[in-house]
Protein backbone atom coordinates (compact mmCIF):
# COMPACT_ATOMS: atom_id res chain seq x y z
CA UNK A 1 0.00 0.00 0.00
CA UNK A 2 2.74 2.37 1.02
CA UNK A 3 4.62 1.25 -1.96
CA UNK A 4 2.01 2.19 -4.49
CA UNK A 5 1.27 5.50 -2.83
CA UNK A 6 4.93 6.34 -2.68
CA UNK A 7 5.54 5.27 -6.20
CA UNK A 8 2.70 7.31 -7.55
CA UNK A 9 3.62 10.28 -5.45
CA UNK A 10 7.20 10.11 -6.54
CA UNK A 11 6.36 9.67 -10.15
CA UNK A 12 4.26 12.76 -9.90
CA UNK A 13 7.02 14.77 -8.22
CA UNK A 14 9.59 13.53 -10.71
CA UNK A 15 7.41 14.57 -13.60
CA UNK A 16 7.05 18.05 -12.17
CA UNK A 17 10.82 18.31 -11.58
CA UNK A 18 10.33 19.74 -8.14
CA UNK A 19 12.62 17.51 -6.23
CA UNK A 20 15.68 19.54 -5.36
CA UNK A 21 16.49 19.57 -1.69
CA UNK A 22 13.58 17.36 -1.00
CA UNK A 23 14.51 14.81 1.57
CA UNK A 24 12.42 11.80 0.98
CA UNK A 25 11.02 9.60 3.65
CA UNK A 26 13.98 7.73 5.07
CA UNK A 27 12.12 4.96 6.70
CA UNK A 28 10.18 3.92 3.68
CA UNK A 29 12.91 2.46 1.60
CA UNK A 30 12.43 -0.51 -0.57
CA UNK A 31 13.70 -1.75 -3.87
CA UNK A 32 11.16 -0.01 -6.01
CA UNK A 33 11.71 3.14 -4.09
CA UNK A 34 15.45 2.99 -4.55
CA UNK A 35 15.13 2.55 -8.27
CA UNK A 36 12.76 5.44 -8.50
CA UNK A 37 15.04 7.64 -6.48
CA UNK A 38 17.98 6.72 -8.67
CA UNK A 39 16.06 7.59 -11.75
CA UNK A 40 14.83 10.78 -10.15
CA UNK A 41 18.38 11.67 -9.22
CA UNK A 42 19.36 11.79 -12.86
CA UNK A 43 16.66 14.26 -13.60
CA UNK A 44 17.83 16.24 -10.67
CA UNK A 45 21.39 16.50 -11.80
CA UNK A 46 20.50 19.95 -12.88
CA UNK A 47 19.14 20.48 -9.43
CA UNK A 48 22.63 20.02 -7.97
CA UNK A 49 23.31 23.41 -9.30
CA UNK A 50 20.79 24.71 -6.96
CA UNK A 51 22.55 22.79 -4.22
CA UNK A 52 26.03 23.89 -5.28
CA UNK A 53 24.95 27.38 -6.17
CA UNK A 54 25.82 28.76 -2.80
CA UNK A 55 27.24 32.14 -1.96
CA UNK A 56 30.66 30.61 -1.52
CA UNK A 57 30.60 29.17 -5.01
CA UNK A 58 29.61 32.55 -6.37
CA UNK A 59 32.51 34.26 -4.65
CA UNK A 60 35.19 31.86 -5.89
CA UNK A 61 33.83 31.94 -9.39
CA UNK A 62 35.25 35.34 -9.96
CA UNK A 63 38.85 34.28 -9.25
CA UNK A 64 38.91 31.21 -11.49
CA UNK A 65 37.94 30.46 -15.04
CA UNK A 66 34.69 28.59 -15.29
CA UNK A 67 36.47 25.34 -16.29
CA UNK A 68 39.14 25.65 -13.65
CA UNK A 69 36.56 26.44 -11.13
CA UNK A 70 34.47 23.40 -12.20
CA UNK A 71 37.44 21.01 -12.21
CA UNK A 72 38.60 22.12 -8.80
CA UNK A 73 35.12 21.74 -7.52
CA UNK A 74 34.80 18.22 -8.97
CA UNK A 75 38.15 17.12 -7.58
CA UNK A 76 37.20 18.42 -4.17
CA UNK A 77 33.93 16.54 -4.35
CA UNK A 78 35.73 13.36 -5.34
CA UNK A 79 37.73 13.51 -2.16
CA UNK A 80 34.59 12.17 -0.58
CA UNK A 81 34.44 8.39 -1.05
CA UNK A 82 32.18 7.32 1.78
CA UNK A 83 28.47 7.70 1.62
CA UNK A 84 26.22 7.29 4.58
CA UNK A 85 22.78 5.86 5.00
CA UNK A 86 20.04 5.93 7.48
CA UNK A 87 19.18 2.84 9.46
CA UNK A 88 17.89 0.00 7.36
CA UNK A 89 17.80 2.06 4.19
CA UNK A 90 19.79 2.04 0.98
CA UNK A 91 18.65 5.42 -0.13
CA UNK A 92 21.35 7.81 -1.22
CA UNK A 93 21.13 10.97 0.77
CA UNK A 94 20.59 14.20 -1.22
CA UNK A 95 23.85 15.73 -0.01
CA UNK A 96 25.66 12.72 -1.51
CA UNK A 97 24.33 13.18 -4.97
CA UNK A 98 26.73 15.86 -6.25
CA UNK A 99 29.67 13.87 -5.02
CA UNK A 100 28.44 10.70 -6.61
CA UNK A 101 27.75 12.58 -9.83
CA UNK A 102 31.30 13.82 -9.72
CA UNK A 103 32.56 10.27 -9.27
CA UNK A 104 30.36 9.08 -12.10
CA UNK A 105 31.69 11.74 -14.42
CA UNK A 106 35.22 10.89 -13.45
CA UNK A 107 34.60 7.23 -14.14
CA UNK A 108 32.99 8.12 -17.44
CA UNK A 109 36.03 10.17 -18.34
CA UNK A 110 38.40 7.41 -17.24
CA UNK A 111 37.06 4.14 -18.65
CA UNK A 112 40.02 2.11 -17.33
CA UNK A 113 39.47 3.27 -13.84
CA UNK A 114 37.85 0.59 -11.75
CA UNK A 115 36.08 1.05 -8.49
CA UNK A 116 34.90 -1.34 -5.78
CA UNK A 117 31.81 -0.41 -3.82
CA UNK A 118 31.92 -1.86 -0.33
CA UNK A 119 28.59 -1.88 1.39
CA UNK A 120 28.37 -1.85 5.16
CA UNK A 121 25.80 -1.82 7.88
CA UNK A 122 25.93 -0.94 11.49
CA UNK A 123 26.00 -3.67 14.07
CA UNK A 124 22.34 -3.50 14.80
CA UNK A 125 20.06 -6.11 13.35
CA UNK A 126 21.07 -9.47 12.03
CA UNK A 127 24.32 -10.21 10.29
CA UNK A 128 22.84 -11.90 7.28
CA UNK A 129 20.26 -9.25 6.75
CA UNK A 130 22.91 -6.61 7.20
CA UNK A 131 24.99 -8.43 4.65
CA UNK A 132 22.15 -8.12 2.21
CA UNK A 133 21.52 -4.57 3.28
CA UNK A 134 25.18 -3.65 2.70
CA UNK A 135 24.94 -5.17 -0.71
CA UNK A 136 21.83 -3.24 -1.50
CA UNK A 137 23.49 -0.01 -0.43
CA UNK A 138 26.45 -0.79 -2.65
CA UNK A 139 24.14 -1.59 -5.51
CA UNK A 140 22.19 1.59 -4.97
CA UNK A 141 25.42 3.54 -5.36
CA UNK A 142 26.38 1.39 -8.33
CA UNK A 143 23.16 2.19 -10.13
CA UNK A 144 23.54 5.87 -9.39
CA UNK A 145 27.04 5.85 -10.85
CA UNK A 146 25.95 3.97 -13.93
CA UNK A 147 23.00 6.22 -14.46
CA UNK A 148 25.36 9.18 -14.22
CA UNK A 149 27.87 7.94 -16.76
CA UNK A 150 29.94 5.16 -15.31
CA UNK A 151 29.89 1.79 -17.03
CA UNK A 152 28.94 -1.45 -15.30
CA UNK A 153 32.29 -3.03 -16.06
CA UNK A 154 34.12 -0.48 -14.05
CA UNK A 155 32.24 -1.21 -10.88
CA UNK A 156 32.43 -4.12 -8.49
CA UNK A 157 30.26 -4.40 -5.40
CA UNK A 158 30.81 -6.30 -2.21
CA UNK A 159 29.02 -6.32 1.09
CA UNK A 160 30.67 -6.82 4.40
CA UNK A 161 27.51 -6.32 6.31
CA UNK A 162 28.32 -5.35 9.84
CA UNK A 163 31.61 -7.22 9.85
CA UNK A 164 33.92 -4.31 9.16
CA UNK A 165 32.77 -1.30 11.09
CA UNK A 166 34.58 1.97 10.44
CA UNK A 167 34.19 2.97 14.04
CA UNK A 168 34.04 0.64 17.00
CA UNK A 169 31.40 1.20 19.56
CA UNK A 170 27.70 1.07 20.08
CA UNK A 171 26.73 4.69 19.85
CA UNK A 172 24.47 6.51 17.45
CA UNK A 173 27.51 8.27 16.06
CA UNK A 174 29.41 5.04 15.51
CA UNK A 175 26.39 3.40 13.95
CA UNK A 176 25.86 6.39 11.66
CA UNK A 177 29.46 6.20 10.48
CA UNK A 178 29.23 2.46 9.95
CA UNK A 179 26.13 2.56 7.75
CA UNK A 180 27.98 3.35 4.61
CA UNK A 181 29.19 2.53 1.12
CA UNK A 182 32.86 3.06 0.47
CA UNK A 183 34.23 3.68 -2.99
CA UNK A 184 37.61 2.03 -3.33
CA UNK A 185 39.49 3.01 -6.46
CA UNK A 186 42.06 0.53 -7.51
Amino acid sequence: MNLSVQTKAFALLATLGLIAGCSSNQTMDDGAYDSASDVAAIDQSGGSTVYGGSDDGGVSAETLTEEERMAAEQAALREITTFYFDFDTSEIKPEARDVLVAHARYLAEHPNQRVRLEGHADERGTKEYNLALGERRAKAVQRFLIVNGASRGQIETVSYGEEKPAVMGSTESAWAQNRRVELVFE
Binding site: G125, E128, Y129, L131, A132, E163, K164
Partner: protein, 437 residues
Protein backbone atom coordinates in the same frame (compact mmCIF):
# COMPACT_ATOMS: atom_id res chain seq x y z
CA UNK B 1 9.77 -29.76 66.34
CA UNK B 2 6.43 -30.93 65.01
CA UNK B 3 8.02 -31.39 61.71
CA UNK B 4 10.57 -33.77 63.17
CA UNK B 5 7.89 -35.62 65.04
CA UNK B 6 5.99 -36.08 61.88
CA UNK B 7 8.97 -37.18 59.94
CA UNK B 8 9.82 -39.85 62.47
CA UNK B 9 6.25 -40.98 62.74
CA UNK B 10 6.01 -44.55 61.45
CA UNK B 11 4.66 -44.50 57.97
CA UNK B 12 2.19 -47.35 58.48
CA UNK B 13 0.70 -45.65 61.50
CA UNK B 14 0.46 -42.46 59.58
CA UNK B 15 -1.32 -44.21 56.77
CA UNK B 16 -3.78 -45.82 59.17
CA UNK B 17 -4.37 -42.54 60.88
CA UNK B 18 -4.96 -40.87 57.59
CA UNK B 19 -7.40 -43.61 56.57
CA UNK B 20 -9.28 -43.20 59.86
CA UNK B 21 -9.43 -39.49 59.46
CA UNK B 22 -10.86 -39.96 56.02
CA UNK B 23 -13.46 -42.38 57.35
CA UNK B 24 -14.67 -40.26 60.21
CA UNK B 25 -14.57 -37.06 58.29
CA UNK B 26 -18.10 -35.83 57.58
CA UNK B 27 -19.34 -35.52 54.06
CA UNK B 28 -18.62 -32.10 52.70
CA UNK B 29 -18.19 -30.24 49.50
CA UNK B 30 -14.72 -31.02 48.39
CA UNK B 31 -12.49 -28.03 48.09
CA UNK B 32 -10.57 -27.66 44.88
CA UNK B 33 -7.54 -25.43 44.72
CA UNK B 34 -6.16 -24.71 41.29
CA UNK B 35 -2.51 -23.97 40.86
CA UNK B 36 -2.01 -22.32 37.52
CA UNK B 37 1.36 -20.78 38.08
CA UNK B 38 4.56 -22.29 39.20
CA UNK B 39 7.56 -20.87 40.95
CA UNK B 40 9.27 -18.27 38.84
CA UNK B 41 12.51 -19.80 39.93
CA UNK B 42 14.88 -22.57 39.06
CA UNK B 43 14.56 -25.96 40.69
CA UNK B 44 16.79 -26.42 43.73
CA UNK B 45 19.02 -29.41 43.21
CA UNK B 46 22.05 -30.66 45.05
CA UNK B 47 24.76 -32.28 43.02
CA UNK B 48 26.88 -33.82 45.70
CA UNK B 49 30.56 -34.15 44.79
CA UNK B 50 31.07 -37.70 43.64
CA UNK B 51 33.17 -40.05 45.65
CA UNK B 52 36.26 -41.18 43.78
CA UNK B 53 37.96 -44.54 43.64
CA UNK B 54 41.38 -44.33 42.07
CA UNK B 55 43.32 -41.33 40.85
CA UNK B 56 41.53 -39.06 38.42
CA UNK B 57 43.18 -36.43 36.27
CA UNK B 58 43.18 -32.85 37.57
CA UNK B 59 40.61 -30.42 36.30
CA UNK B 60 36.94 -29.85 36.84
CA UNK B 61 35.18 -32.50 38.80
CA UNK B 62 32.41 -34.37 37.10
CA UNK B 63 29.88 -33.14 39.66
CA UNK B 64 31.02 -29.60 39.04
CA UNK B 65 30.42 -29.97 35.32
CA UNK B 66 26.99 -31.41 35.99
CA UNK B 67 26.21 -28.51 38.28
CA UNK B 68 27.25 -26.01 35.64
CA UNK B 69 25.27 -27.78 32.97
CA UNK B 70 22.15 -27.72 35.06
CA UNK B 71 22.74 -24.10 35.93
CA UNK B 72 23.17 -23.20 32.30
CA UNK B 73 19.79 -24.71 31.47
CA UNK B 74 18.23 -21.97 33.52
CA UNK B 75 15.88 -24.53 34.99
CA UNK B 76 18.03 -25.58 37.92
CA UNK B 77 19.61 -23.88 40.86
CA UNK B 78 22.31 -26.18 42.22
CA UNK B 79 23.30 -25.81 45.82
CA UNK B 80 26.93 -24.87 46.34
CA UNK B 81 28.66 -27.88 47.92
CA UNK B 82 29.92 -25.84 50.85
CA UNK B 83 26.32 -25.40 51.97
CA UNK B 84 25.65 -29.10 52.05
CA UNK B 85 25.27 -30.72 55.47
CA UNK B 86 26.69 -34.00 54.34
CA UNK B 87 28.29 -35.40 51.20
CA UNK B 88 26.67 -38.75 50.67
CA UNK B 89 27.63 -40.89 47.73
CA UNK B 90 25.18 -43.71 48.32
CA UNK B 91 21.51 -43.94 49.11
CA UNK B 92 22.08 -45.15 52.65
CA UNK B 93 23.80 -41.93 53.47
CA UNK B 94 21.16 -39.64 52.06
CA UNK B 95 19.16 -38.06 54.88
CA UNK B 96 16.18 -36.58 53.17
CA UNK B 97 15.31 -34.48 56.17
CA UNK B 98 18.57 -32.60 55.84
CA UNK B 99 18.08 -31.91 52.17
CA UNK B 100 14.52 -30.87 52.84
CA UNK B 101 15.68 -28.43 55.43
CA UNK B 102 18.02 -27.02 52.84
CA UNK B 103 15.03 -26.54 50.56
CA UNK B 104 16.34 -29.01 48.03
CA UNK B 105 14.07 -30.82 45.62
CA UNK B 106 16.54 -33.28 44.19
CA UNK B 107 19.81 -34.77 45.28
CA UNK B 108 22.28 -36.37 42.92
CA UNK B 109 24.90 -38.58 44.47
CA UNK B 110 27.48 -40.77 42.78
CA UNK B 111 30.82 -42.38 42.73
CA UNK B 112 33.56 -42.52 40.12
CA UNK B 113 35.82 -45.50 39.96
CA UNK B 114 38.79 -45.80 37.69
CA UNK B 115 39.97 -49.04 36.13
CA UNK B 116 42.97 -48.51 33.91
CA UNK B 117 41.95 -45.83 31.41
CA UNK B 118 38.25 -46.21 32.00
CA UNK B 119 36.22 -44.35 34.54
CA UNK B 120 32.84 -45.64 35.58
CA UNK B 121 30.30 -43.38 37.16
CA UNK B 122 27.51 -44.84 39.27
CA UNK B 123 24.96 -42.21 40.17
CA UNK B 124 21.54 -41.90 41.74
CA UNK B 125 19.02 -39.09 41.70
CA UNK B 126 16.53 -38.68 44.54
CA UNK B 127 13.33 -36.72 44.88
CA UNK B 128 13.74 -35.22 48.33
CA UNK B 129 10.10 -34.50 49.10
CA UNK B 130 8.87 -37.84 47.90
CA UNK B 131 11.95 -39.59 49.33
CA UNK B 132 12.12 -41.56 46.16
CA UNK B 133 14.90 -42.54 43.82
CA UNK B 134 14.03 -41.44 40.33
CA UNK B 135 17.22 -42.33 38.55
CA UNK B 136 19.99 -44.84 39.13
CA UNK B 137 22.51 -45.68 36.47
CA UNK B 138 26.12 -46.15 35.68
CA UNK B 139 28.09 -44.94 32.69
CA UNK B 140 31.70 -45.17 31.64
CA UNK B 141 34.12 -43.11 29.60
CA UNK B 142 37.81 -42.94 29.00
CA UNK B 143 39.75 -41.12 31.62
CA UNK B 144 40.37 -38.26 29.21
CA UNK B 145 36.70 -37.88 28.51
CA UNK B 146 35.31 -37.13 31.91
CA UNK B 147 33.52 -34.11 30.48
CA UNK B 148 31.68 -36.34 28.10
CA UNK B 149 30.74 -38.51 31.04
CA UNK B 150 29.64 -35.49 33.03
CA UNK B 151 27.49 -34.10 30.22
CA UNK B 152 25.94 -37.52 29.79
CA UNK B 153 24.97 -37.54 33.46
CA UNK B 154 23.58 -34.02 33.09
CA UNK B 155 21.44 -35.18 30.20
CA UNK B 156 20.05 -38.09 32.22
CA UNK B 157 19.33 -35.98 35.26
CA UNK B 158 17.68 -33.33 33.16
CA UNK B 159 15.49 -35.85 31.41
CA UNK B 160 14.51 -37.61 34.64
CA UNK B 161 13.26 -34.39 36.16
CA UNK B 162 11.86 -32.48 33.23
CA UNK B 163 10.71 -35.25 30.95
CA UNK B 164 12.72 -33.77 28.10
CA UNK B 165 16.01 -35.18 26.78
CA UNK B 166 19.01 -33.21 27.88
CA UNK B 167 21.15 -31.37 25.32
CA UNK B 168 24.31 -31.07 27.35
CA UNK B 169 26.26 -33.53 25.25
CA UNK B 170 25.73 -31.51 22.12
CA UNK B 171 28.24 -29.13 20.55
CA UNK B 172 28.32 -25.46 19.81
CA UNK B 173 29.86 -23.77 16.82
CA UNK B 174 30.63 -20.09 17.00
CA UNK B 175 32.97 -17.44 15.71
CA UNK B 176 35.43 -15.51 17.79
CA UNK B 177 37.06 -12.30 16.73
CA UNK B 178 40.35 -11.29 18.19
CA UNK B 179 41.17 -7.71 17.44
CA UNK B 180 44.60 -7.69 18.99
CA UNK B 181 47.07 -5.45 17.19
CA UNK B 182 44.25 -3.87 15.26
CA UNK B 183 44.27 -6.85 12.91
CA UNK B 184 41.18 -8.91 13.40
CA UNK B 185 41.55 -12.65 13.52
CA UNK B 186 38.38 -14.66 12.90
CA UNK B 187 38.15 -18.16 14.28
CA UNK B 188 35.46 -20.72 13.74
CA UNK B 189 35.35 -22.89 16.83
CA UNK B 190 33.47 -25.91 18.07
CA UNK B 191 33.07 -26.60 21.76
CA UNK B 192 30.96 -28.36 24.33
CA UNK B 193 27.76 -26.56 25.21
CA UNK B 194 29.44 -25.06 28.22
CA UNK B 195 32.09 -23.56 25.97
CA UNK B 196 34.72 -25.95 27.19
CA UNK B 197 36.96 -28.10 25.02
CA UNK B 198 36.77 -25.51 22.28
CA UNK B 199 38.66 -26.35 19.11
CA UNK B 200 39.45 -23.96 16.30
CA UNK B 201 38.22 -25.30 13.00
CA UNK B 202 39.07 -22.36 10.80
CA UNK B 203 41.10 -19.23 11.27
CA UNK B 204 40.92 -16.29 8.90
CA UNK B 205 41.81 -12.65 8.61
CA UNK B 206 38.45 -12.16 6.98
CA UNK B 207 35.04 -12.51 8.53
CA UNK B 208 33.41 -15.88 9.08
CA UNK B 209 29.64 -15.92 9.37
CA UNK B 210 26.63 -18.12 9.89
CA UNK B 211 27.99 -21.51 10.87
CA UNK B 212 25.28 -24.14 10.43
CA UNK B 213 25.36 -27.71 11.65
CA UNK B 214 24.61 -30.58 9.37
CA UNK B 215 21.83 -32.72 10.84
CA UNK B 216 24.26 -35.50 11.65
CA UNK B 217 26.58 -33.13 13.46
CA UNK B 218 29.52 -34.06 11.25
CA UNK B 219 29.83 -30.96 9.13
CA UNK B 220 29.42 -27.23 9.27
CA UNK B 221 28.39 -24.93 6.51
CA UNK B 222 29.40 -21.29 6.89
CA UNK B 223 30.12 -18.05 5.08
CA UNK B 224 33.75 -17.07 4.81
CA UNK B 225 35.12 -13.84 3.42
CA UNK B 226 38.55 -15.32 3.02
CA UNK B 227 38.38 -14.71 -0.72
CA UNK B 228 37.35 -11.10 -0.19
CA UNK B 229 33.67 -11.74 -0.57
CA UNK B 230 31.10 -13.97 1.10
CA UNK B 231 31.42 -17.56 -0.06
CA UNK B 232 29.68 -20.61 1.40
CA UNK B 233 31.77 -23.57 2.46
CA UNK B 234 30.91 -26.97 3.82
CA UNK B 235 33.44 -28.13 6.31
CA UNK B 236 33.71 -31.76 7.43
CA UNK B 237 34.80 -31.63 11.03
CA UNK B 238 36.37 -35.04 11.31
CA UNK B 239 38.67 -34.57 8.32
CA UNK B 240 38.88 -30.80 8.07
CA UNK B 241 37.93 -31.08 4.42
CA UNK B 242 36.35 -27.90 3.11
CA UNK B 243 34.18 -27.53 0.05
CA UNK B 244 33.33 -24.22 -1.55
CA UNK B 245 29.69 -24.90 -2.36
CA UNK B 246 28.53 -21.42 -3.36
CA UNK B 247 30.76 -18.77 -4.91
CA UNK B 248 28.45 -16.88 -7.19
CA UNK B 249 28.71 -13.17 -8.01
CA UNK B 250 27.30 -11.09 -5.25
CA UNK B 251 26.12 -12.64 -2.02
CA UNK B 252 26.66 -16.26 -1.09
CA UNK B 253 25.33 -16.52 2.41
CA UNK B 254 22.93 -17.74 5.06
CA UNK B 255 23.42 -21.49 4.63
CA UNK B 256 20.90 -23.78 6.30
CA UNK B 257 20.73 -27.54 6.04
CA UNK B 258 17.78 -29.49 4.88
CA UNK B 259 16.66 -32.02 7.51
CA UNK B 260 18.03 -34.89 5.47
CA UNK B 261 21.39 -33.19 5.14
CA UNK B 262 21.36 -33.42 1.38
CA UNK B 263 20.73 -29.82 0.49
CA UNK B 264 21.42 -26.32 1.67
CA UNK B 265 19.22 -23.29 1.65
CA UNK B 266 21.30 -20.32 0.55
CA UNK B 267 20.89 -16.62 -0.02
CA UNK B 268 22.37 -15.64 -3.37
CA UNK B 269 22.29 -12.32 -5.19
CA UNK B 270 23.79 -13.61 -8.40
CA UNK B 271 20.72 -12.38 -10.25
CA UNK B 272 20.96 -8.91 -8.77
CA UNK B 273 18.85 -9.24 -5.69
CA UNK B 274 19.12 -11.37 -2.56
CA UNK B 275 16.94 -14.42 -3.09
CA UNK B 276 16.65 -17.77 -1.43
CA UNK B 277 17.80 -20.88 -3.26
CA UNK B 278 17.98 -24.51 -2.48
CA UNK B 279 21.15 -26.22 -3.54
CA UNK B 280 21.51 -29.98 -3.84
CA UNK B 281 24.88 -30.68 -2.35
CA UNK B 282 25.58 -33.72 -4.48
CA UNK B 283 24.93 -31.99 -7.80
CA UNK B 284 25.19 -28.34 -6.96
CA UNK B 285 21.85 -27.84 -8.67
CA UNK B 286 20.05 -24.68 -7.65
CA UNK B 287 16.39 -23.99 -7.28
CA UNK B 288 15.22 -20.46 -6.69
CA UNK B 289 12.66 -20.40 -3.91
CA UNK B 290 11.87 -16.71 -3.76
CA UNK B 291 11.63 -14.07 -6.45
CA UNK B 292 11.02 -10.65 -5.11
CA UNK B 293 12.70 -7.28 -5.43
CA UNK B 294 12.98 -7.19 -1.62
CA UNK B 295 15.72 -8.79 0.42
CA UNK B 296 14.89 -12.41 1.09
CA UNK B 297 17.41 -14.15 3.30
CA UNK B 298 18.05 -16.12 6.49
CA UNK B 299 16.02 -19.08 5.37
CA UNK B 300 15.61 -22.17 7.53
CA UNK B 301 13.53 -25.29 7.28
CA UNK B 302 10.61 -25.73 9.58
CA UNK B 303 10.11 -28.71 11.86
CA UNK B 304 8.46 -30.74 9.14
CA UNK B 305 11.17 -30.10 6.59
CA UNK B 306 8.49 -29.03 4.14
CA UNK B 307 8.21 -25.33 4.65
CA UNK B 308 10.72 -22.57 5.23
CA UNK B 309 10.91 -19.53 7.40
CA UNK B 310 12.88 -16.58 6.11
CA UNK B 311 13.45 -12.88 6.51
CA UNK B 312 12.11 -10.46 3.95
CA UNK B 313 11.71 -6.71 3.91
CA UNK B 314 9.07 -6.85 1.24
CA UNK B 315 6.69 -5.07 3.57
CA UNK B 316 9.10 -2.21 4.12
CA UNK B 317 11.23 -3.57 6.92
CA UNK B 318 12.55 -7.01 7.74
CA UNK B 319 9.88 -9.42 8.93
CA UNK B 320 9.57 -13.17 9.33
CA UNK B 321 7.76 -15.00 6.57
CA UNK B 322 6.70 -18.56 6.31
CA UNK B 323 6.39 -20.47 3.07
CA UNK B 324 4.34 -23.52 3.93
CA UNK B 325 5.82 -25.49 1.06
CA UNK B 326 8.06 -24.63 -1.80
CA UNK B 327 6.22 -22.42 -4.23
CA UNK B 328 3.49 -21.39 -1.81
CA UNK B 329 2.79 -17.74 -1.21
CA UNK B 330 4.81 -16.63 1.81
CA UNK B 331 2.82 -15.67 4.84
CA UNK B 332 4.02 -13.02 7.21
CA UNK B 333 4.46 -14.25 10.75
CA UNK B 334 5.65 -11.24 12.73
CA UNK B 335 3.85 -7.99 13.21
CA UNK B 336 5.04 -6.86 16.60
CA UNK B 337 7.53 -4.29 15.46
CA UNK B 338 9.22 -2.95 12.35
CA UNK B 339 12.23 -5.23 12.66
CA UNK B 340 12.04 -8.99 13.05
CA UNK B 341 14.64 -11.17 11.43
CA UNK B 342 16.62 -14.41 11.37
CA UNK B 343 13.97 -16.94 12.25
CA UNK B 344 14.94 -20.15 14.04
CA UNK B 345 12.11 -22.58 14.64
CA UNK B 346 12.33 -25.10 17.45
CA UNK B 347 11.92 -28.78 16.79
CA UNK B 348 8.33 -28.95 17.99
CA UNK B 349 6.81 -26.63 15.44
CA UNK B 350 5.29 -24.61 18.25
CA UNK B 351 7.57 -21.60 18.21
CA UNK B 352 9.80 -19.58 16.00
CA UNK B 353 12.57 -17.52 17.56
CA UNK B 354 14.05 -14.42 15.99
CA UNK B 355 15.70 -11.07 16.54
CA UNK B 356 13.18 -8.45 17.40
CA UNK B 357 13.61 -4.74 17.61
CA UNK B 358 11.80 -2.89 20.31
CA UNK B 359 12.45 0.83 20.39
CA UNK B 360 16.18 1.13 19.94
CA UNK B 361 16.99 -2.29 21.39
CA UNK B 362 17.27 -5.66 19.75
CA UNK B 363 16.01 -8.65 21.71
CA UNK B 364 15.37 -12.26 21.06
CA UNK B 365 11.69 -12.96 20.81
CA UNK B 366 9.55 -15.86 19.89
CA UNK B 367 6.15 -16.23 18.37
CA UNK B 368 3.77 -19.04 19.18
CA UNK B 369 2.88 -20.33 15.75
CA UNK B 370 -0.48 -21.60 16.93
CA UNK B 371 -1.65 -18.47 18.66
CA UNK B 372 0.50 -15.81 17.02
CA UNK B 373 1.45 -14.53 20.46
CA UNK B 374 4.85 -12.91 20.58
CA UNK B 375 7.05 -12.97 23.64
CA UNK B 376 10.29 -11.10 24.11
CA UNK B 377 12.69 -13.46 25.81
CA UNK B 378 15.77 -11.42 26.56
CA UNK B 379 16.42 -8.45 28.76
CA UNK B 380 19.73 -7.67 27.17
CA UNK B 381 20.03 -5.36 24.18
CA UNK B 382 21.87 -5.75 20.90
CA UNK B 383 20.94 -9.40 20.87
CA UNK B 384 21.70 -11.48 17.81
CA UNK B 385 21.93 -14.93 16.35
CA UNK B 386 19.47 -16.98 18.36
CA UNK B 387 19.95 -20.73 18.11
CA UNK B 388 17.64 -23.21 19.77
CA UNK B 389 18.98 -26.30 21.51
CA UNK B 390 17.90 -29.52 19.83
CA UNK B 391 15.61 -30.40 22.72
CA UNK B 392 13.90 -27.07 22.26
CA UNK B 393 14.50 -26.09 25.86
CA UNK B 394 17.43 -23.73 25.63
CA UNK B 395 18.40 -20.89 23.46
CA UNK B 396 21.83 -19.49 22.85
CA UNK B 397 22.38 -16.07 21.36
CA UNK B 398 25.03 -13.40 21.08
CA UNK B 399 24.80 -10.15 22.90
CA UNK B 400 26.99 -7.28 23.90
CA UNK B 401 28.84 -7.20 27.15
CA UNK B 402 30.67 -3.91 27.27
CA UNK B 403 32.53 -3.63 24.03
CA UNK B 404 32.54 -7.33 23.40
CA UNK B 405 30.07 -9.76 22.12
CA UNK B 406 29.40 -12.77 24.32
CA UNK B 407 27.23 -15.84 24.13
CA UNK B 408 24.36 -16.26 26.48
CA UNK B 409 22.18 -19.27 27.09
CA UNK B 410 18.64 -18.88 28.31
CA UNK B 411 15.86 -21.36 28.77
CA UNK B 412 13.66 -21.34 25.74
CA UNK B 413 10.83 -19.70 27.65
CA UNK B 414 13.06 -16.83 28.61
CA UNK B 415 14.23 -18.05 32.00
CA UNK B 416 17.47 -17.29 33.72
CA UNK B 417 20.38 -16.42 31.51
CA UNK B 418 23.80 -17.97 31.69
CA UNK B 419 26.70 -16.37 29.89
CA UNK B 420 29.30 -18.63 28.47
CA UNK B 421 32.76 -17.67 29.58
CA UNK B 422 34.18 -15.44 26.89
CA UNK B 423 37.59 -15.79 25.52
CA UNK B 424 39.42 -12.60 24.55
CA UNK B 425 37.54 -10.54 22.02
CA UNK B 426 34.11 -11.16 20.59
CA UNK B 427 32.23 -14.42 20.56
CA UNK B 428 29.45 -14.46 18.05
CA UNK B 429 27.36 -16.49 15.67
CA UNK B 430 26.55 -19.42 17.93
CA UNK B 431 25.01 -22.49 16.37
CA UNK B 432 23.69 -25.26 18.56
CA UNK B 433 24.54 -28.68 17.25
CA UNK B 434 22.19 -31.63 17.06
CA UNK B 435 21.89 -34.43 19.57
CA UNK B 436 24.12 -37.14 18.22
CA UNK B 437 23.51 -40.63 19.45
Amino acid sequence: MTYRTWMTFPRAAAAILAACLVLVAPARAELLIRITEGADAAIPISVVPFAEQGALPPGDKVSRIVRDDLTMSGEFRPLPPEKMLSLPSRREDVFFRDWRLLGQRYVLVGELSRQADRVTARYELFDVNQEKRILGESAAASVNNLRTLAHHISDKVYEAITGVPGAFSTKLAYVTVDNANGKPRYRLQVSDVDGKRARIRLESREPILSPAWSPDGKALAYVSFETGKPVVFVHELATGKRTKVADFPGLNSAPAWSPDGKALLLTLSKDGNAEIYRMELASGALKKLTNHWAIDTEATYDATGEGIFFTSDRSGGPQIYYMERIGAEPRRITFGSRYNARPRPDGTGDYVYYVHQRDSAFHIARTNLKTGDETILTRTQSDESPSVSPNGRMLIYATKQGENSVLTVISADGGAAYSLPASEGDVREPAWGPIVQ
